[in-house]
Amino acid sequence: MSNNTKSTTSNNPFDIFVIGARKGYQIAINNLMPNVLMAYVVAEILNIIGAMQFIGSLFGPLMGIFGLPGEAVTVLLTSWLSSSAGTGIAVSLLSKGVLNGSHATILIPAIFLMGSQLQYMGRLLGVADVPKKYWPLLMAASILNACIAMIIMRFFA
């Protein structure tokens, strides 16, 4: 989201709201919608070829630590590529009844803490000139963060 342009042409709160709402529209249409659509299609492909059930049983024990069904790993793996897509997968699993509200509550901080890391490598670590040597360290710290978040969220969900 490159929307830090201070457009302070007006001090009228209604105008300011409209500026923000316009940004929201851009994000929703250009970003959220293509990603969510892709996530729904990917989830459907995995579902048809039966990979979802396989992934579910394979990662069941691991995800069990966080109080999640095995299928939830697809949300996390996709989030790593793009948080919008990960959110989309989560919603499609929720609508299929694979996940429930407590699962969503456990997952939501993890989606963003380890989210979109693939693109942020370029957009953040690349732009800020962080030496490549430390990239895996930062990535590992983020994934660790996500795991801690899921464990803590178990108490709230």
Partner: protein, 223 residues
Amino acid sequence: MAEERNTATGNQWKVGIGAYIALLVAILFFSGLFMKLDGMKWLSAFDFTTLGGTFGTMKEPAKSTFLGAGGVSAKAGFLFALSLVPTVMLALGFLEIFTHYGAIRAAHKLLTPLLKPLLGIPGLTGLALITDLQSTDAGAALTKELYDENQINKKELVVMSAWQYSGAGLINNYFAIGSALFAFLTAPVIIPLLLMFALKFVGAMIVRSVLNTVYKEDFSHEQ
């Protein structure tokens, strides 16, 4: 977020074996041949019409929204994404107002004294970190500027980037994208946000301690 760029330029006149395979797959994908093959239902995962999916239907008109119930794949995804647009616009509209009236500046003020004791980075980095909560790109640009102006050293740069990298663009992403899940949450919406904010520090502190131990040599010339 996603800013994919098309990098395939310059070699459009070379037609290798891969191109013919792609053409074949494209024809099969759109042909409909895979749609209903008895005994090989999994092949329908590579069929255009199947992946197009279906819209939900009004099974219970009194309860259903325009999404209906039982929709799948692209069509269901599209309508679902459409249903998110109003709340995303609302969230960013209000964020813009709160930002305009200085919410971010106040947050900057509160954050600054925490930076030195927790992360070992100077307070002047606070602005870049706060900016990152709203915009990953702007935060990254400010971070680079600080380093270029010798305000921070390499180690501080890495710690700052660690803080930003986990949950980058946190506030905007959470309200713009995460709002899709808000209706399902069993805990107040603020709790995951506060937790993520706190964990940004935890992650950066972990990175800092690794830099101070494993990578100690790298920074021996800096102080």
